[in-house]
Amino acid sequence: MPGGFLLVLGRELRIVLRRKGDALNVLVFFVVVASLFPFGVGPEPNQLRAMGAGVVWIAALLAAVLSLPRLFAADHADGTLEQMLLAPRPLLVIVLAKTAAHWLLTGLPLTLVSPVIGLQYGIPGDALMTLIASLLIGTPVLSLIGAAGAALTLGVRGGGALLGLLVLPLFVPVLIFGAGAVTASLIGIKPDAYLSLLGAFLAVSSLVGPWAACAALRVALD
């Protein structure tokens, strides 16, 4: 497994890093969305502190949905994906590698930028660490479940909006416990239980997501 996994992962990263704009756009989108909320709800600091974590998390969900259609689309368009299905290597390894690449290029950068937005919303140090931890555990879930959504909507008309409709409801638990962890930190409760539950979601989605993505890819390219 490691050989094929690293090969595909390296390929995915190289392709994106040659066109850095795509990955950067998602990151900028994340920052812009998160910065819009104060214009809508007003600059009252206490209110902003209370909603900061939720805003960061919702912006992360939207950024994930925005970036997901590209997960398989380019390889589907030029026929590479069909070759990957025909290859002797298990499809699961390829899907896992692509999912990992997606997280490295969207989830991880979002997590690294999130403290800046947290500071804008006046989230203090401890809670800021919790925000980073929750994103670090939670954003891979978005990539894993999102991969299944991307595979299901592959080559379907109106794929982008449809993808959002399919995966956003499934992201609800991650949103609840991701933002909940930070809120707990803010009011002085240890966030461990929330982070453990996020870890449990990560475990479940790493079983369900890639399985569903593989099945959906086989259906799409049948």
């Binding site: 909507t153 379907v156 449809l162 399919l166 409801p169 609800v172 609840i176 479940v204 959906a216 049948d222």
Partner: protein, 248 residues
């Protein structure tokens, strides 16, 4: 026995059987609904705390039950379709989805109308309301995905995968939302406290629930007949059976 049953996995064999069953289930639904509404509105006593407004439960509770139950049935058909590769299973899943979405919507709508006089608000972010709303989104996603894929085989399989992922998530979403709610605002309004219900109320509700079952079966069968006709329109048996009725 089993081969006899599996004969009806063929759309051609199932089509006339479904046609024969629909009037029975429709009649049962009408009769049970009439009885349920009679008991609910004329026999059941007025609730001591909620007054007459509680009577919406005769519509609301069966709708909420059916909304969750139908999603499981739909996922069950989807799983059968994926495992055994039977065409009819995917058609059944497609036929059930709109009824399930309708019941979810009715549960939300009637809940809002009940909430206004009882809680003083059409909508509160109560755990049950919220998970019902997410369930509606899951139904809409399933329907939208199936609509978006023109090829029926691909549409059925993709829908089946989505329904299975959804059915794994439904309990997770339900418990997450419940915990989220209790942590955020405490149980300010709770649907779970069940005052010992008058027997006639319970009977009315069960009659309505049975009516909702019969209605769901009848509509699903009627819809699956349409889907069979649409998908098999080039098959000889469809043309032969439809020629007499619709001279093209």
């Amino acid at each position: 026995m089993s081969s006899e049953l599996f004969r009806f996995a063929s759309p051609q064999a199932f089509f006339p059987v479904a046609g024969k069953m629909i009037p029975w289930f429709a009649a049962l639904a009408a009769a049970l609904a009439a009885a349920g509404l009679y008991v609910g509105f004329l026999v059941a006593p007025t609730d001591a705390t909620q007054g007459e407004a509680y009577r919406i439960i005769f519509l609301h509770v069966p709708a909420a039950w059916m909304s969750m139950f139908l999603y499981c049935v739909m996922a069950g058909w989807a799983a059968v379709g994926l495992a055994l590769n039977t065409r009819l299973s995917g058609m059944m899943a497609s036929a059930i989805a709109p009824t399930g979405a309708m019941f979810t919507f009715v549960a939300l709508w009637s809940g809002a109308l009940w909430g206004r006089p009882t809680w003083g608000a059409y909508w509160v972010w109560d755990a049950r309301l919220t998970s019902e709303l997410v369930l509606l989104f899951l139904y809409l996603g399933f329907i939208a995905l199936k609509e978006a894929i023109p090829d029926p085989v691909r549409s059925d399989r993709a829908g089946a995968i989505l329904a299975l992922v959804g059915v794994v998530n439904v309990p997770i979403i339900y418990f997450s939302v419940q915990w989220w709610n209790t942590l955020h605002q405490g149980a300010s309004v709770s649907l779970t406290r069940s005052p010992s219900m008058a027997k006639t109320m319970l009977i009315g509700m069960l009659l309505m629930a049975l009516a909702a079952w019969m209605y769901s079966i009848a509509t699903a069968l009627a819809r699956v007949r349409r889907i069979i006709l649409e998908r098999e329109r080039d098959a000889e048996w469809v043309r032969l059976s439809q020629d007499g009725r619709q001279p093209a």
